[in-house]
Symmetry: C2
Subunit: 705 residues, 2 copies
Amino acid sequence: MLRIRLAVVATLALVAAAPCVAAENVAAESVAASAAADKTAEAQAGTHAVASPDGVLRVEFSLVDGAPRYSASRMGAEIIGPSRMGFKLVDAPAMDAGFVVESVQRNSADTTWTQPWGEVRQVRDHHNELRIALRQKDHRARRLVVVFRVFNDGLAFRYEFPKQPNLGEFNIADELTEFAFASEAQCWWVPAFDQNRYEYVYNQTPLSEAGKVQTPFTLQTADGLCLSVHEAALTDYSSMALTRGEGTKYGAELYPWSDGTKVRAATPFVSPWRTVQAADRPGDLLASTMILNLNEPCQLEDTSWIKPGKYVGVWWEMHVGRSTWGSGEKHGATTENTKRFIDFAAKYGFDGVLVEGWNVGWDGNWMENGEKFSFTQPYPDFDLEGLAAYAAERGVTLVGHHETAGAIAHYEAQLDDAMRLYNRLGVKAVKTGYVEFADGIDRIDADGTRHGEWHHGQFMVRHYRRVAQKAAENRVMVIAHEPIKDTGIRRTLPNFISREGARGQEYNAWSGDGRNPPSHTTVLPFTRMLSGPIDFTPGVFDLKLNSGDRPNDQVSTTLAKQLALYVVLYSPMQMAVDFPEVYEQKLDALQFIRDVAVDWEESRVLDGQIGDYIVVARRQRGGGDWFLGAITDEHGRVLPTLLGFLDRGRRYKAEIYRDANDAHWDTNPEAYVVEEQTVDANTVLTLRLAPGGGQAIRFTPLPPE
Amino acid sequence: MLRIRLAVVATLALVAAAPCVAAENVAAESVAASAAADKTAEAQAGTHAVASPDGVLRVEFSLVDGAPRYSASRMGAEIIGPSRMGFKLVDAPAMDAGFVVESVQRNSADTTWTQPWGEVRQVRDHHNELRIALRQKDHRARRLVVVFRVFNDGLAFRYEFPKQPNLGEFNIADELTEFAFASEAQCWWVPAFDQNRYEYVYNQTPLSEAGKVQTPFTLQTADGLCLSVHEAALTDYSSMALTRGEGTKYGAELYPWSDGTKVRAATPFVSPWRTVQAADRPGDLLASTMILNLNEPCQLEDTSWIKPGKYVGVWWEMHVGRSTWGSGEKHGATTENTKRFIDFAAKYGFDGVLVEGWNVGWDGNWMENGEKFSFTQPYPDFDLEGLAAYAAERGVTLVGHHETAGAIAHYEAQLDDAMRLYNRLGVKAVKTGYVEFADGIDRIDADGTRHGEWHHGQFMVRHYRRVAQKAAENRVMVIAHEPIKDTGIRRTLPNFISREGARGQEYNAWSGDGRNPPSHTTVLPFTRMLSGPIDFTPGVFDLKLNSGDRPNDQVSTTLAKQLALYVVLYSPMQMAVDFPEVYEQKLDALQFIRDVAVDWEESRVLDGQIGDYIVVARRQRGGGDWFLGAITDEHGRVLPTLLGFLDRGRRYKAEIYRDANDAHWDTNPEAYVVEEQTVDANTVLTLRLAPGGGQAIRFTPLPPE
């Protein structure tokens, strides 16, 4: 059985599998294999169950007249009723019925591995596995393996198509996986099958009233149970949306290629894992590392060059209308303007300076300019080489930028040169962009035929991974905007360090009344953030955008909430978006952005309700400082909070950045107070959050009493 | 102003006001008076506002065309819209309009006092007060004072009728107070204007769909805000129910005397306080001490004889049909049976032994026997004097019992003798009962005319208080069943130590399918428990009632949940209801009941959702032990819980009493595990609660490391 698994791993490894020795510390000896064949009557009938190590979650697989079904329960109560599994294939018989069980294997694992960076350093992978090999009685005995892994905090399953005589190359017409939720619930979702790349304000509706939704798809029953459906290890497949059927039953719906095919495959082949996290409190969903555990170990031999950090840059000014990406009078990416940001970064300890609009191709309607962009040639008023040196002298690096406008072939043709350039210039990270215009992502066949593809289909899944690999070869980290959703690939390729994939800060700059509402960031932690880091770009201090040219726009938070987002919305690369002159007017508040860590030893969600509020505490990696972030929606809240996470042996200085008593996101957003207090693990701090407000705290250990 | 307040206090003091020197530690010097008249234009127009010390809550009073109105907001958002105030009088013009403001006074207090027993030892009384003296332009210039007190966690107001020439004796026909809740909410309630003395399973409905409800009346908006309406210092008034008007507007409705009059009064006179607690999380409602602060200080000179404790007794056996209250073959209150309980109490450290059915009068349908009960004459087979001595020799005392069946005159005529008897026999507590039959509480006029009265009207409010006072004179504590609701009188008369006033354990013994559902005890903490201690009588180990004669009944909890109730449902007098032979089969579980404290230094609600689950931790008064109780409704739950309440300098031994992994309230209720673990303030314990289950933990400090 172990051999089978290793074979699958090898199949998945699109680059040579070279274990990250330092980062991966798999206690292989703790893997207990019990591959004894299951000979009971139940097994003969094709019914097999597997429970989580703590017994709380239980998954049951069965063949109903040869058709595979699974269901799941939690503490004896059904959470997913009998649900379909299998596939329709293009021009081939379906693989959804006529099966018999060929073999059943069980396995248990309890290992711990170390992340090069993350919300937590140590990750425990503790699960029970059930592997069921199926064979079709007809259709030339084609084989399909269904693998379940059940963790204490969630369940997962995937399909494996073993190498076999009668199934070589094949195309998936439909994945038939269902999630028949056992009860009505409230759910939070953004629409699927729309080109807008997850960039929506979340809808909240009853489960029975949603339609086609992206994942992570989070729901909470009236009794409080929280579930979130997502996928893990989406490496060479189309991404999965969910489409509601009858009542509260949802089915997987894969994003198609432009020819309608869902997935192009050849055996041996595996699907991504379909995952369902479960917790009794919304905040407990965030503690799950299941999705990371379901990804392949790190494939990079050396990860020492991958370093979390903070950056500023030439970006927000384009959004608020102060300058342009394109060349001309208002061009933002000038040598002089960039030096201003480099000086600011150097003075206040930021690691990087992002410059967008630095390269030729932006003029005109840049969203139509996919084939005009050069990824190596700067505009004449941007001295790339000189600025790289200017930055280096000051201990700062440029953050690169590649806007593709969705012209993939054009970008991939330059990818080698572009990444090599950054490597040579000491650029450690590149922000990529895929703001496609009109007909979707541009794909060009060998014969020159053009196709419009989804961001979310197999074509782009492969592209994003290819970019991350090419960047890794050049020791460049990737921050993708308009990305494919995160499914934990950061475990395998930890230089794919952050991404957008949600309605970010930028919408506050130009959406007028359509800007992100105060509740937006109180939904994200329980939905989008379950997939991985976000480059949300917090840090606006000029909340009414007085320094820009957007009189009808504003950011719907208080200033203290902007600070809290650095803790709440996890990213190992955090931007501070506002202007040097704005920050220099509020150096006391800037201090928090300077101090806050971006890499964590451990993380705790202290409390939270989806769309209402959340309180998060994280301990700095390699240090004793704790940071707390608390945010609320449009309702002011008073949250007495016990600081039991602090080291029980220490007292701490708490540097508190809070809303002033009369702060309000709309009428008085910039009213904040910075104050200090001595606290310890027994202190109850009353967090008072203004309407649309927040609070950020740094806790620094004091010398022993 | 202070003089006026003291005058009111004197009026309220139905027994001589003798401060409890040890218990009351009022820092009078911190009371800041600022009685300067408010001369602004707003004030002239009759609009005056007062905020909580932290500024979060704000109450506004105004005269609208001479009619008093108040409204309330929290962090700028309205929680109670403009609401009516005032009275209709019997045979006199109403006091609800035609007012002018005569004077406005403000006051602030920040004092701390000590409870003789309680959920917390120290109580802080921190509030701002607004006192508005009104005068009617017509109606012979009658005067009414409206007093608001705003605390950080709630607001309160009451009416004062000063001594005045044109208002002496008067009868209230209606109190017109309204609570115009500003938004829809879910609410939890038991029906008012029904004879069943709060003994209901709670209803959960939208606010706009409830009808006539008792208080505490708790609601939670979709945004999470929790409010609870109740009253404080109900000492000589009718109790207040709420009746819904339009939409989400509720009005006070007082329980009438049998002649329809609501309240009989004479100036100077005060109403109870009308209270509204507010919190962003359900559990935070429980931390409020506002209601105690609104009661008068302790009136007993010596409280040293008032001692919390635990008791067993001859009671559950009547409920499960093993014996009878009345005499005869199955009589439970025999000398021999009582000795069995005394021996058990002595052996396992219980303080008291309750014996019901000890006194003559029970034979026949005892609910009709109000005038047959003797409160001094035991049945011949019950050797009262001998048993009192037998108990005393073993360090145990009898707990007395007075069932009145609602015949108040008959009981009050014997009250002196009955209490003196207990005093002489060393009986430290009496359980009283008011299971009235048919026509309500029996009141007899001087001329012998009989009236049927409500439990909840002014007549019975006076009676319950009179009993508590008479008991205090005899150093007897009172545990009232079928009581008037608690409104904090325990501050003034701390010998009124506990009471029923909810659907207790007994319903599990004889209600069949109508027994308390698993969710019942997860609603009580957020509703009934906001008023004060409950004599719920937990501790059933034989959950299927096999030892009784009730084949169709059972208790809808696991055994571990029964243990957890000792921590969750606060009472300074806790019963352990099951039989000696049942407990002796499970001595490891009994150990928790033996160990658990009944008096507390501090209490913390760690988490909870109304009707779903609650986790409570309390520290033993005068000791370092902590106890934790966690319970859930019919849904199993997994609750990772940070133990930050533990002393940050100590390690603790945790004795854990939990549901077995396969426990279930219905199918496997008695499966429990007792285990030990070493923990500290940084430990995250995963509380796993079976469906209908719970967990109880004792934390004992270990010697310093």
